[in-house]
């Protein structure tokens, strides 16, 4: 078989509430939304107004600086509201769905018979382009650029992450169609990162690389680093496996179909399982009646516990998220919590008894378990980052706003998800991901 890349560093956080391999089809939600806030650095320009009637695939907004990059409606119906935040920043465009509404017709063709330009145009027009992200920076790919390679990780190692082997059941042909389309967009290769047992090994037109090891072995960023790292001036693209399906469906049917399978997980979920719904669905449509009834407050996360976004029941799921996790909020005081033996307390360090008596899985809440401090310990981050990067020094370069150092220490290779575990294990409770994003934003601003 293909080459196996064994990673040692990292950490598997075993949480309670992983999804059973059971699929439930959720009825079309009464409302869905597109959120410009899901795209770091995007300045949206609205195309629709409130009460406009729209079809699936109609343009909702576009990128002010790259007008060809459009974002289209995942469901037809009526624009119910445009919610704005501070300084009239657009937060959500909410669509109240109408099951009877039609769908915009795009070209139906085998991508192997189309030119790169035709494929690019189809992806741009249909609003599927934003599913292609670029490294460095983890932002939406630029239409004019030619990626060195394209990387797709077909397994997710994050806590409670969905199993793509299960999700892909019966959809591998569509996946293959999507790969054919993507293959036209690069002169390089498409690398597929697979886990030990994978249904993706028969996919054609790709280079397969097997990865073993704890999280973040399933992150595209980590896989890129070990297959062929991104250097200054180079660009590669990444796509999530389910989003390859969107591309495949578009060419197979000529229509955009944003049906997505998400894993509903977490210790607060009555029956963790897979739900078939559509992109941007309302949180209520996922959680209502499916959570445990408790006396304490719960936190709903669109995404996984390391990188997801905190949402409330009136909000909507994120554009890229294939997972919803519900954990206890943990907004309670704990008497002398730092001094307890901690048999139930999961820790990557060896300072709690849970290390001696490991459990199968743990319930973790959203409490910080301590106050924020300056950097004190120096070897924690490196143990959970399987990359040739000095994480603390990179973060310090960002805090010092030292652009040269940021470049030299490898800011082009990482995005938030790659260093999320550093934030988890941090004794000083440093906000690693937000510091890193600030650094990336600075680099984008200064160097473009």
């Amino acid at each position: 078989m293909s080459e196996v890349i064994k990673l040692k560093k990292g950490l598997d956080i075993k949480l309670k509430g992983s999804a059973e391999p059971v699929m439930e089809v959720v009825p079309v939600p009464s409302s869905v939304a597109l959120k410009p806030t899901d795209f770091p650095g995007l300045t949206p320009k609205l195309v629709v107004k409130q009460d406009d009637v729209i079809q699936v695939g109609d343009v909702i907004f576009y990128d002010k600086y790259h007008p060809e990059v459009v974002f289209t409606a995942p469901a037809g119906g009526k624009v119910a509201s445009i919610n704005r935040g501070e300084r009239r920043r657009i937060l959500e465009v909410v669509i109240s769905t109408d099951p009877g509404s039609g769908s915009v017709q795009f070209r139906q063709a085998d991508p192997q018979n189309l030119s790169a330009e035709e494929i690019k145009e189809q992806l741009l027009k249909s609003g599927l382009w934003p599913f292609i992200k670029r490294r460095p920076y983890g932002t939406i790919a630029l239409p004019q650029e030619q990626p060195r390679d394209i990387f797709i990780s077909t397994f997710d190692t994050a806590p409670l992450a969905p199993d793509y082997n299960f999700i892909m059941e019966g959809q591998l042909e569509t996946f293959q169609t999507g790969i054919h389309a993507l293959a036209r967009l690069t002169h390089g290769k498409i690398y597929l990162g697979v886990s030990k047992t994978s249904v993706f090994t028969n996919i054609k037109q790709v280079e397969i690389r097997q990865f073993t090891g704890p999280h973040p072995a399933g992150n595209a960023g980590v896989q890129i680093h070990h297959i062929s790292p991104v250097n200054k001036g180079e660009v590669v693209w990444t796509v999530n496996p389910q989003d390859v399906l969107f591309i495949g469906r578009l060419f197979e049917t000529g229509k955009v179909d944003f049906t997505r399978i998400i894993a509903l997980t977490g210790s607060e979920v009555e029956q963790p399982k897979y739900l078939q719904t559509i992109l941007g669905t309302s949180v209520t449509s996922i959680t209502e009646g499916r959570l445990k009834k408790t006396g304490y407050s719960q936190r709903i996360i669109s995404g996984n516990v390391l990188t997801g976004e905190k949402v409330k029941s009136q909000n909507f799921l994120g554009f890229y998220d294939a997972q919803v996790t519900v954990i206890p909020e943990g907004d309670e005081y704990e008497l002398l919590g730092w001094a307890t033996p901690g048999v139930k307390k999961f820790s990557a360090s060896r300072t709690y008894l849970s290390r001696l008596f490991p459990r199968k899985n743990y319930i973790l809440n959203a409490n910080l378990h301590g106050g924020e401090r300056a950097f004190v310990l120096s070897d924690q981050y490196g143990k959970v980052l399987p990359m040739d990067i000095l994480p603390v020094h990179l973060l310090k370069a960002i805090l010092a706003n030292d652009l040269d150092k940021m470049e030299q220490l490898g800011i082009y290779e990482v995005i938030e998800e790659d260093m999320a575990l550093c934030e988890f294990v941090c004794t000083s409770k440093i906000k690693v991901q937000s510091i890193l994003r600030n650094g990336i934003n600075t680099v984008i601003k200064e160097l473009g």
């Binding site: 949480l15 008497l335 730092w338 070897d379 040739d388």
Partner: protein, 393 residues
């Protein structure tokens, strides 16, 4: 404990900015968070966080110091009764209680002065109180000779906290190990009181020492040319010396705690010991060379491994060199940093008889150079990354 929580919650508005007791804010926060882990939850980034925090970390370091502290108390009593010739007739508990009464005031002074200054600085800066001093406050008494006057302990602690730590921005920002700053301050500011043979063994004004009593530490003796100590005594710690540094056994117990929990860097411990051993062997090799005074020759010839159980070497290697803030912060740098500490400690100890205790100076020196070591390690890392880029281009 609910009433305590209620009390802190109720008084919280009173200590906010602009409120009547705003100057107590940091103190309030310090005690509240000490008793109760706050209920603050993650607002950005990762939703879940490890249960470890700085309080846990620091309390484990303090725990690892407890064997050395308890043994130090016992040894203070032991040395006292040995000096006055009543060792045989005195029981274990009398020895321990004697030492306890001698050592406890030093611990109290160190904590009260140090934490007082910490609280004041935290309030001035509007910061939360940092846990770093919980460890420094315990380290300072352990590296003091037992007869250090309390006022000196107070001044040294104050100097260390203000000029060793707070001027740099508090825990995490300091360049030198604060506890060693306290020790070095006394060493250089009060040399008459801090060296010689009068400070290592606790003696009352009316106590009459036995004839053979000198009060000197083995290292001072050796530097003067008399190598006469029992290896077993040095290993178990029944020799005169700073309060916590004499017992290699107690220090190894602490090391075990630090290593099992992963709080102390094994790389620094191993490389420091390796450096000490290698320097000891080198000196052994030169012991026969001409031109050495008889005293030096004897010191040169001392079996290299004796260095590990004498003086502050073991204590320094386990508890001082491993301070994560003042040590090198890169993994490669830790090897270099520890190794050089070991080399320098033994070198200073043997070559310069004015400083029989070279460990303190060696660690402070390498603290100073740690950023430089890191700099070169990072430059090497950057160069390797650049090469990678060139290769692929």
């Amino acid at each position: 404990m609910k009433f305590l929580k209620d009390f802190f919650e109720k008084t919280e508005p009173l200590v906010q900015k602009g409120a009547r007791f705003h100057w107590l804010n940091s103190v309030h926060d310090g005690f509240f968070t000490f008793l109760f882990v706050p209920r603050s939850t993650s607002q950005t980034g990762s939703h879940i966080h490890d249960y470890i925090d700085l309080k846990r970390t620091m309390s484990i370091v303090v725990l690892s110091l407890v064997p050395a502290l308890l043994f130090g108390m016992y040894n203070v009593g032991f040395q006292h009764y040995k000096a006055i010739g009543e060792l045989v007739s005195t029981g274990f508990f009398s020895l321990f209680i004697y030492g306890l009464l001698k050592v406890l005031p030093i611990v109290v002074v160190s904590y009260v002065v140090g934490l007082g200054i910490e609280f004041a600085f935290a309030q001035m800066r509007g910061h939360e109180i940092n846990e770093g001093f919980l460890v420094s406050g315990m380290l300072i008494p352990l590296i003091m000779p037992v007869e250090t006057p309390l006022w000196m302990v107070a001044i040294a602690t104050a100097f260390a906290v203000v000029f060793g730590k707070e001027v740099f921005g508090g825990t995490g920002m300091n360049i030198w190990n604060p506890a060693l700053i306290a020790r070095a301050f006394l060493f250089f500011a009060y040399p008459a009181q801090m060296s010689g043979n009068a400070v290592w063994v606790s003696m009352g004004k009316t106590d009459v020492p036995v004839d053979s009593f000198t009060g000197a530490t083995p290292l001072a003796d050796i530097a003067a040319g008399n190598v006469n100590f029992s290896v077993a005594d040095a290993f178990f710690g029944l020799i005169p010396g700073s309060i916590g540094e004499t017992s290699t056994v107690a220090i190894l117990l602490g090391a075990a705690i630090l290593l099992i929990t992963g709080i102390g860097s094994w790389k620094i411990m191993v490389s420091t010991v390796a450096g000490g051993v290698i320097m000891g062997i080198i000196l052994n090799l030169f012991a026969g060379s001409t031109g050495l005074s008889p005293e030096s020759a004897a010191f040169f010839a001392m079996p290299f491994w004796h260095h590990l159980i004498l003086g502050g070497f073991a204590f320094g290697a386990i508890f001082m060199a491993t301070d994560p803030v003042s040590a090198a912060q890169t993994e490669k740098g830790k090897w270099i940093y520890g190794f050089l500490i070991g080399i320098l400690a033994i070198l200073i100890r043997v070559i310069n008889p004015a400083y029989p205790e070279g460990m303190m100076l060696a660690i402070l020196l390498m603290n100073t150079f740690a950023p430089l070591i890191d700099h070169y390690v990072i430059q090497g890392h950057i160069k390797r990354r650049l090469n990678r880029a060139k290769l692929s281009a």
